[in-house]
Subunit: 184 residues, 2 copies
Amino acid sequence: MRADARRNREAIVSAALELLASDPEASIGAIASRAGVGRVTVYGHFCTRAELIDAVFESALAASERTLSELGCAVDPRTALAELIAATWRIVGRTRGLLLAARDHLPAERVRELHRLPLERVRSLLHRGRSEGVFRTDLSEDWLIAVYYNVVHGAVEEVAAGRLEERDAADAITRVVDSAFAPA
Amino acid sequence: MRADARRNREAIVSAALELLASDPEASIGAIASRAGVGRVTVYGHFCTRAELIDAVFESALAASERTLSELGCAVDPRTALAELIAATWRIVGRTRGLLLAARDHLPAERVRELHRLPLERVRSLLHRGRSEGVFRTDLSEDWLIAVYYNVVHGAVEEVAAGRLEERDAADAITRVVDSAFAPA
């Protein structure tokens, strides 16, 4: 890709991230205009809205991964999990619209695949907590990770629907995951 | 609607339910042929795949509501919840593809709205359990219902992805919801 094409692509992804974060329905026209390019240029890089959302989501998750990797890791797995949820929600709450756009335009398995790295982070914490007897072992790791993932996504939808206050979300997620992960 | 048009519509919805239950990608052609009508007749009743899925989903949920209303209501709210989950999963497990088709073709809020009656059933049980001190009261009813809904939907996706055995799903859901609803 030529340097100017690469710059345009980056400008489009970054403009789309900014707009979709608060409005999952942001139009291609609005995104093009925020990026300082024409709609035709956007479609030159991304044939469909889904392709653009996929690229934006991938880029947002890479940025989020850099933030989460800077978290210290508390010795107590339950504390570490609460800290991970709080940090995750600080990111998710800010880019809520993007997650809703991804859910509406990408296959569910693709959305989950894009979350591979943050979910690996939960898996390794879960693994440590299980070996220390702090988290339950009567259910599979895969299922507990699915519970975590679905509870966080549920919170995004509840906030969007006005049934949960954004400021209460991290605490609401933590209390549920903490109970769901506790030894039976 | 004329009687033959009504019969056709019912045949289409019932054929679609049968096929989508196991294959969320079942084609309109296959549905028409199972219903004994032409594709044009299907499109005469349902302009889009989403409209057809909406109608099928509504009809499946009405049938499911009739089944769930026949459940006795155990005196202990935790037992009643476990029985409700088991009965729900017997229905959901059988029509899993339909839920996945709905998730892919209908807005998330519409899918949730179509679940209004089964969710009211959970709400009333939750309400009773909270007043009896069996379920937690440190989180809102809305949020606990969202947790229930998202955990059940998560199980559908995990089974579809091959990460959870269908025969283990009701137990896996019950254990998580039971812990998540327990007083903190």
